[in-house]
Amino acid sequence: MPIVSVRQLSKSYGENTVIDHLDLDIDQSSVVAVLGRSGSGKSTLLRCIGGLEVFQTGQVACGDQVLLPMQAADQSYFRNIGIVFQHFNLFPHLTALSNVTIALRKVQRLDKELVAKRGRKALETVGLWEKASAYPARLSGGQQQRVAIARALALEPKILLLDEVTSALDPELVEEVIGVLRSLAERGDTMLLVTHDIRFAQTVADHVVFMHKGKIHEQGKAHEVIRQPKTDEFAQFLGIANKL
């Protein structure tokens, strides 16, 4: 049973069609990387699945919740997902631990002990428990992103959505984030990553989806599909990246 099921999803901004009748299934414990150029629609796809964008046609099912066209996501939809953003989006006036636990306290209204336990677990998973009382301004980019991951993990979501999470980081900070995601993959977390970084996709994902102009052009097992692209567009995308 797939955790997330996307059927015939279409989204346009005015005249511009960004996602074109897209189907996608994400199985439990799989790590799916969506590759594509800017403008291919991959971030929009993640945002639609994440309930942050309203789409025109199709359907997104996540766990027991369903998103229908032209409907804003209900608050309860966000129980099943955890989103990590490109620019971390931590709350600057809260400590790392508060950032991680605030939703548990104020939205899910869990009791203090459970909140403390989950908060600690989440920060330990990303290796930042000793920075629990630090403010985001005192943390490096990589550390901030890891706290953002902990914040999403603390919700115990069915799937983790990661939108270009290494793109805003200096190269030497990317490794620590990749390390965390790899350990999450190893313990069986379900993840959808959007990235234009092929190496990132190769290291962490087991499935790869290549998007071009709003449609899925290729998908398959990570090492197979990247080594042997079937379509011209994907080959071009990989080729250009290889030259770098």
Binding site: I81, G82, F85, N89, I102
Partner: protein, 214 residues
């Protein structure tokens, strides 16, 4: 000189009136201003436009005229208010009109991505505003808010024109009685300076702190 010294106590009493004309409008104006700021960032059109109209009216009218409209104007339509009350009402409207705009700007200065992060964690609009956006907006708004309070303190002097016996009015009376306008108005200026300068310093300090943290 002796006349001036004789009237110093009355200057002290009127200083208290001035402070009252500052604190009451500051607090009431803050409450109304907050409502205006929230209205201006609301989702529906009506509160947004009403807020915009209110701010446009207050910011486009001279404060003195606000005082005159409230005091003499209301008398025309039947109510006779004591000058101090008119002054408080007019200054409250003044404060609300300016604080509302400052705070609207501060709320909108919090990056859209913060709202998004809040939403993705399951927060509804009101809770997101109260718990996550407001603290950031308050910090952003501090320098301009304190800066405005300096203006409010200075503008209390206009209450003299509608007859409130605050600092400036008393100063004018003493100047006339003592025939030493230079001394009296100089002293008056010095008193206002002492009332305003600490707030000006605070506002500048806050600005620097925020700039350094960038």
């Amino acid at each position: 000189m002796d006349t001036v010294i004789k009237y110093l106590p009355s200057l002290g009493t009127s200083a208290l009136i001035t402070v009252a004309l500052f604190i009451v409008p500051a607090v009431c104006g803050a409450v109304i201003g907050l409502m205006v700021a929230i209205a201006r960032t609301a989702k529906s059109l009506l509160p947004r436009e009403l807020g915009k109209l209110f701010i446009f009216a207050i910011q486009g009218t001279p404060v003195l005229l606000l005082l005159l409209i409230v005091h003499y104007g209301i008398a025309t339509i039947g109510f006779r208010l004591p000058p101090a009350l008119s002054a408080i009402i007019a200054l409250t409207l003044y404060a609300a009109g300016f604080l509302g705009e400052i705070w609207r700007g501060a709320i909108q200065a919090v990056p859209q991505t913060q709202w998004e992060a809040a939403r993705s964690l399951g927060f509804g609009r009101t809770r997101a505003l109260l718990l996550l956006i407001a603290p950031q907006a308050i910090w952003i708004a501090l320098p301009a808010t304190v800066g405005f309070l300096v203006s409010l303190m200075k503008v209390t002097s206009l209450a003299a024109i509608i007859g409130v016996v605050e600092l400036t009015k008393t100063g004018m009376m003493i100047a006339n009685l003592s025939f030493e306008p230079m001394l009296v108005y100089g002293l008056l200026g010095a008193i206002y300076f002492m009332l305003c300068w600490p707030m000006s310093r605070l506002s500048r300090h806050l600005e620097m702190v925020q700039h350094a943290n960038r």
